[in-house]
Symmetry: C2
Subunit: 161 residues, 2 copies
Amino acid sequence: MASTHFAAEPGVPQIVITREFDAPRELLFRASTDPDLLVQWLAPRGLTMTVDRFDLRDGGTWRYQLWEADGTDHAFHGVFHGEPSPDGIVRTFEVEGMPGHVSMWTVTFTEQGGKILLTHNIVYQSVEDRDLDLRPDLEESVSYSMDRLDELLARLAPVSR
Amino acid sequence: MASTHFAAEPGVPQIVITREFDAPRELLFRASTDPDLLVQWLAPRGLTMTVDRFDLRDGGTWRYQLWEADGTDHAFHGVFHGEPSPDGIVRTFEVEGMPGHVSMWTVTFTEQGGKILLTHNIVYQSVEDRDLDLRPDLEESVSYSMDRLDELLARLAPVSR
């Protein structure tokens, strides 16, 4: 299984996460945009995810929730910018309860050597805002999700190719 | 007249523009959000500006055009994130004809020593994207607009205070 690369440079309001997948590009796009597939890999360990809306079009809005075992929820929402496609997905990201703090995610799917490099590029309004997200377990949490995505792709690929 | 400070650090996908104004905070907010006032200061030298829409609310969209003397237009649009107020305005920014390139503007109005520090904080998806905006005349163009804003505030302040 490939490993996840996580970059957060000092003084730069950005996080870049990359991971190589041995799966069709269209399938990786689908796993990143179909709510029924997203909930199978995106949630951090121990949390479950529900998607309220995921209106995948230029100007469309999305919202999802992460649920702890005790019923506590964490909600997130944002807006798609530009028509989402395997060439890229740009969306804003807000944590509900933290008004004024907005980040912007650009997801790309780059063919290289017969595999697909998935890149999550996240920019924040400031380094301070970025550092709020850089909790100690973030890198491990992202790797966990990417491993779940890898497993999901392996299950889907045989019927999708 | 105060001067405009312009910061674009190497390797950081961000531009920060600051300018101090001797005007009421609410008036500076209004000059930044009322289309009838915006068109009086925001356009670069030699261009005129029209506002198609400026739906100033959380999730509202905006669009404006800059017109050259020969009738050529340049159009821009985006989405407000969070409820715009004198505490801050967050909006995304897209240049029409450049899909996939989105920047995010955070405008704040900070009281300091009886004056207001206006800050335009712009973050881009990458340093390469930021550098596309860093044309040689950008700093002079921004200073020109901020000087027009200063003049507008001086005209408005007597009736607004």
